[in-house]
């Protein structure tokens, strides 16, 4: 099996690579590439993302044909795809970080700044927070409700259809932190930095 981590200059992805390689050991081949043919032929795709919504979307479009290839993979062929952090946020129709930017439009909704309640809450939301699992998601197989995950973000994905939400976390408000829509999975938290429980989520995705 081939799992491809999309390398599209979206910032620092070494931790994502390290964690997937740790879980995959020799059983699964982990590719890190932006090669369209390799992405097309892989079994699963991981879409990481750091920095701003706009910078990540811009970086995707900077690689000619990449967005079309991802659309083909996730929407037409419907193979499993995992978005992490801004990788998840880009599923939305639109994001408002820096300036209004069109997203991939895979899961309708928007990405807006977390309400810090007039400075009562610090932003970014950094650190370990518990997840409330609200839907049976395949990537949560063996993960206890209220497990701790590592977060670092200032923007949140607000999907239109609440049925796609698989977990939320409590901060200044109830924040969507995981989604599942058919073959598309996303986590706002960083499984690659969430110690053993995070690695278990990666393992679940690899074993889908």
């Amino acid at each position: 099996m081939n799992v491809t981590i999309v390398d599209y200059n979206s910032g620092n992805i070494s931790s994502v690579i390290n964690s997937f390689k740790e879980v995959a050991k020799d059983k699964v081949n982990i590719e890190v590439t932006s090669d369209l043919n390799k992405i097309k032929s892989s079994d699963k795709v991981v879409l990481p993302g750091q920095g701003s919504f706009k910078s990540c979307v811009d970086a995707l479009y900077n690689i000619s044909g990449l967005v079309d290839t991802l659309n083909e993979f996730a929407i037409n062929i419907k193979k499993p795809l995992l978005g992490i952090c801004v990788g998840l946020q880009m599923f939305a129709d639109v994001g408002y970080e820096e300036t209004e930017t069109k997203g991939l439009g895979w899961i309708s909704g928007k990405v807006s700044k977390i309400d810090n309640q007039n400075g009562k809450y610090k932003l970014p939301h950094i650190g370990w927070n518990q997840i409330n699992i609200v839907k049976d998601s395949k990537i949560f197989n063996g993960i206890n409700n209220n497990s701790h995950m590592y977060f670092v973000h200032s923007y949140e994905f607000v999907p239109d259809d609440k049925n796609v939400i698989s977990a939320t976390t409590d901060y200044s408000s109830n924040i969507v932190c995981s989604v599942e829509k058919e073959n598309i999975f996303g986590t706002q938290f960083h499984p690659e930095k969430s110690d053993k429980t995070g690695l278990k989520i990666i393992d679940n995705f690899i074993n889908l």
Binding site: G11, N12, S14, S15, N18, S19, K21, E22, Q50, G51, S52, S55, N116, G119, K122, L123, P124, H125, I126, G127, W128, N129, Q130, H148, Y150, F151, V152, H153, S154, D170, Y171, E192, K193, S194, D195, K196, G198, L199
Partner: protein, 250 residues
């Protein structure tokens, strides 16, 4: 609910841990990779490496340490010490650091903070502030606390927030190494004047000091000696905080 973080810090010199603990099950007490792994297995919420390598020719050693550690530890890794440029930050991130802390360069050239937070995201840019009391407040120092700057710490903290820092690592130079507790007033003043998380550092000697640090408004507490010398384990520290009704990840 967001938990308060406990961050053990390891001083690394020429690729080796300085002041390392002597765990019985540790094969090499000077190996930063092994020490970091012990901390992360023990429940550390993040790991911090402070590179205190003095000579330029040995500066490359930290990259190797970071690369090896990031393949073994799956909690966030912050690396600081001697970070001068956007290029240095890029190199550390590529080796597997999740955050980079910037001290002297942030004072001398705030453009480094602006540019790097735009390029890599605020989430990985930590500005380290070394502050010392004077009559009217706190002054920041650079070069590992050697050079006074005449800059007020509170003003600098706000400026760094505007430049794009994601977190502030605040060390009291008056308290550092004394084991008499954090400079609580400093932590209170800074964390209430900025909207980004503050990591309290400098002066921890007891577990109550960690409690005081969190109560001062800091989102995370950093400590070196009490963990280095095995006075307390990270887990003991967390259990103690929990017993004082401070939310921690256990």
């Amino acid at each position: 609910m967001l938990k308060n973080r406990i961050i053990p810090c390891l001083d690394v010199k020429n690729g080796r841990v300085v002041k390392g603990i002597n765990f019985v099950d540790l094969q090499d007490a000077g190996d930063p990779v092994e020490q970091a792994k012990i901390y992360s297995d023990g429940g550390a919420d993040e790991i911090c490496f402070l590179d205190i390598t003095a000579s330029n020719e040995n500066r490359e050693t930290i990259y190797d340490v970071v690369e090896k550690t990031s393949k073994k530890c799956f909690v966030p890794l912050t690396v600081g010490g001697g970070v001068r440029s956007v290029d240095d930050i890029n190199k550390l991130l590529n080796c597997g650091a999740d955050k980079v802390s910037i001290n002297t360069a942030a004072v001398q050239n705030p453009e480094v903070v602006i540019e790097s937070s735009k390029k890599f995201g605020s989430q990985c840019i930590v500005v380290a502030i070394d502050a010392k009391r004077y009559e009217g407040g706190w002054e920041i120092f650079t070069h590992g606390g050697r050079n006074p700057t005449g800059i007020n710490a509170l003003e600098f903290a706000s400026k760094m927030e505007k430049c794009g820092a994601g977190e502030l690592l605040v060390t009291s130079m008056d308290k550092d190494g004394t084991q008499s507790g954090y400079d609580i007033e400093l932590m209170k003043k800074i964390s209430s004047s900025v909207n980004i998380p503050v990591i309290a550092s400098g002066g921890v000697g007891t577990l109550d000091h960690l409690v005081d640090g969190i109560k001062s408004g800091a989102s995370a507490v950093l400590a070196a000696s009490i963990f280095h010398y095995g006075t307390y384990s990270v887990n003991e520290a967390k259990q103690y905080l929990a017993s004082k009704d401070i939310p921690v990840r256990i």
